[in-house]
Amino acid sequence: MSWEGLFDGLTKLDRRWIYLLIAVGVIISLLGPFSVDVSITAPAARFYKAINVLPPDSTILVSMDLDPSTLPELEPIMAATVRHALRRGVNVIGMTLLVEGASIGERIMREAQDELNENYAKIGEEERITMGEDWVYMGFRSGYEAVILQLGDEIRRAYPTDFYGVPLDDYPMMAGIHSFDDMGLLVTVSGTSLPVDWVSYAHTPFGIPVLVGCTAVSAPEFYAYLQTGQMEGILGGLKGAAEYEKMISRPADAMRGMVAQMVVHVLIVILIFFGNLSFYGTRFVKKRQAREHVGG
């Protein structure tokens, strides 16, 4: 095959072959016994430390502001955060500002409870995580910034009842918890710009530290807030979740996904290389042909 034919073939390669290549790469990565080491970055270390230094029986607010389209990136962050807090004896109040997050958040809280209780049972410990004593899930409220401001004043104004319609006062965990002043910090996990709203309406007026779990795409936007101290820590995308899983010694979906991430990134770099090669190669061949045409 001539160089011209090779470059032409690369330029006109059906994109469906690329899709197939990526799919095979991801499937093999997930099925194979592979693992990659994940280096811990400073924003993730700060996220971990902020929760790790909270005293037992303190309370954190976790706002699960996400929808199914960002679930693969954000669920590992939420799952790891809630488990880390509950395991340390830190009480968790879950909520969401997005309609789509209502039932997702409830599932994540329940799964965390079930997994931790299963682990306690395995090692013969009597301790159990229970709703109302260790965690409460308040569900969805519409109003975005208005809800955040109400939470800073009195939680019960925004949420008279929890996700199940039970008044918050019926839960022992909520005794003495009225506003951001009674919480150690708040975590917002979102694929939207809502973390900036949490900074604007929770951190700025009430001073509560804000931790952010976000999609990889939106992470660069939030680094400016990390620099100013308006956000205490950031977990960006699957990589951030994998770092957190490593720090809490609970390797799960994010760690497994990092192998596939690495494989796909390598494939894309190779594809970009061949794409450029075919582009410049075709241009070079055409120029040479033009010179020969003029010369001949």
């Binding site: 990889a216 660069p220 960006g236 996904g257 796909v264």
Partner: protein, 263 residues
């Protein structure tokens, strides 16, 4: 291999495959999945918002307030007991029943006025609702957003807070640290601020079209292109990571939740 017997896992798996058939070419299976998703989304939104907003924020407190107004204290207590009420709606804790009724009706009326957009002759009425929404949101947003997004960010550009992760743009300390202990880390800390300033100015120069791009301006614009390309590359990298995460999530679901392959 332990294939799931859960009907909903099967439904989710089949629809996932339907969606991915679009990568081959547009087809009726993809169209079906697309329409079902839009329909389900709209239904879910409507149900949750109806329950959380119309029922909880209006119908329930409105009904309780009306009863509070119409019934004697003893009758109201009996009503509250039959309804299983353990506390009054928050609005009744702060206001008398009459004021509460008015306060509950105002947002409903403003909300209904928005629908006048559908009647051209009286569509101007909806502007009152929009004006209220804009005014209220501005009142809430401006002081906090100005502090959080402008003043604090501007301060962070010049002042290094204790424990801050990144040094500000003008940091004599970081240069002092570099000369005291030359190394890659201290070098990047020292150079990042000036580099940021140069990058911003050169990128702006690229978009400055009032003068011809030659001489100093032309050179700055060319440097600006490099900064833009590096910025786009970084964004592309993050975007790839995000999109691949979505693929990983679906493949993970198909392999382990649906087909039940060993992890």
């Amino acid at each position: 291999m332990n294939i799931s017997l859960d009907i909903w896992i099967w439904v989710a798996a089949i629809f996932t495959l339907f969606v991915y058939t679009f990568l081959y070419k547009d087809n009726p299976f993809y169209k079906l999945a697309e329409h079902v998703m839009v329909g389900l989304g709209a239904g879910y939104y409507t149900a949750v918002l109806y329950h959380n907003v119309i029922v909880e924020d209006f119908l329930v407190p409105f009904g309780v307030t009306l009863n509070k107004l119409a019934l004697t204290p003893a009758e109201f207590q009996a009503y509250a007991d039959t309804q299983g009420m353990t506390s009054l709606p928050p609005i009744l804790e702060d206001f008398t029943p009459v004021v509460a009724l008015v306060l509950l009706l105002i947002p409903v009326i403003l909300g209904l006025l928005l629908f006048t957009r559908f009647i051209p002759k009286i569509s101007w009425i909806s502007r009152y609702s929009l004006a209220f929404i804009l005014g209220a949101n501005s009142g809430i947003a401006i002081p906090n957003a100005l502090q959080a997004r402008v003043i604090s960010q501007l301060r962070g550009t010049f002042v290094q807070d204790h424990g801050a992760l990144v040094v500000p743009l003008f940091s004599i300390d970081s240069w002092r640290d570099f000369f005291a202990a030359p190394g890659i880390s201290t070098f990047f800390d020292a150079i990042s601020g000036p580099l940021f300033i140069v990058g911003t100015l050169c990128t702006l120069a690229y978009f400055f079209f009032s003068l011809e791009h030659k001489g100093v301006l032309g050179g700055a614009a060319r440097v600006g292109i490099w900064f833009l390309m590096i910025g786009f590359g970084a964004s592309f990298g993050y975007t790839v990571m995000a999109r691949v995460s979505l693929l990983i999530g679906r493949v993970h679901f198909l392999l382990f939740d649906w087909l039940g392959l060993p992890k």
